[in-house]
Symmetry: C2
Subunit: 187 residues, 2 copies
């Protein structure tokens, strides 16, 4: 069972400000999916908004459009192989939760599930912008609840207790960088 | 003098796929500015597009809107103090290039300058979307040329030769994470 504590909404942007690769989960009427997504970023602080690219033709796309909801899960280094695999196949072809052993649990507000073992979770409600969704595959959402592993996100700052719990950043082709050491420069 | 080699446009997304903090430069009719920007992401592969948040009220905003151009510079760990400082004051109040000792050189296509010492540079041309610019401070652009430090971006993959050359990821309040070690999981 993953430990998970609520994060104040005004701090939610901090969970993805460092640009980690994410897993986007979605669900609608008995169907659900998980996709890997590197193109996710903050869009506003308080109330928090996010922007995410969800390509046309993916199994996730209609689930998000029809439910109006998704979860941004922030996976750890220990999950890197599964993250890459989840980005390499379509949920149309197989149940990726089963195939890559993603355990799930219910989110607090939205229908999309949490993926256990992650470092953070942002529950998102779509702000429909059909024009840019169609033109750019770009989705805008309010963050309506946020959660983090309290061993890794401490007093509003990421500080990973061990290497396996570090968040990850996808370069390309299944090669990631781990989030590295903290740097607090002074002038 | 910074070493800089061209990056194929179809590989340009790889320069920011790992979510580094950036410096956005802009110029118009004798005025120019540099701002720190963490909310920048890829939007398409080939031809490459990017999305970036440029807040209303910043000195950068009208320079980008009027010129229709900007450069996404990807700074290194050695530049972290200047990056944070550049994100903490407005170009309306001082010349940030002089104040934080950012040396510049001309870009190849756009009017906005390159900042020397960075790890990568993406020359961008705005795709005007006035509605989402106004509603969300969100700007969409084509990447028209891309460049990288060949010591750090080798055969299309980031591999930093030393700690000072690592790219950086802003957490908040001037605390960064350095891009960490490579991870190539196998299943």
């Amino acid at each position: 069972m993953t430990t998970r504590v609520p994060v104040l909404l005004r701090r939610a942007y901090k969970l993805i400000n460092h640009g980690p690769t994410t897993l986007i989960t979605s669900a609608f009427e008995g169907q659900r999916n998980v996709m890997a997504a590197a193109w996710v970023m903050g869009l506003d602080y308080d109330p928090p908004k996010v922007a995410a690219v969800i390509a046309a033709g993916t199994f996730t796309r209609p689930l998000v459009e029809k439910s109006g909801e998704f979860v941004i899960n922030v996976p750890t280094a220990a999950m890197a192989a599964a993250v890459y695999a989840a980005g390499s196949v379509s949920g149309e072809d197989e149940d990726k939760f089963a195939a890559y052993e993603f355990e799930t649990s219910p989110a607090s507000i939205v229908s999309a599930p949490f993926i256990e073992g992650c470092a953070a979770w942002l529950e998102c409600r779509l702000i429909p912008e059909p024009d840019i969704q169609t033109k750019y595959d770009l989705f805008i959402a309010d963050v309506v609840a946020a959660w983090a592993d309290p061993d890794s996100f401490v007093d509003g700052v990421w500080q990973f207790p061990d290497d396996d719990k570090r968040t990850i950043h996808h370069l390309s082709g299944g090669v990631f960088l781990k989030s590295g050491d903290r740097l607090k420069p002074t002038r």
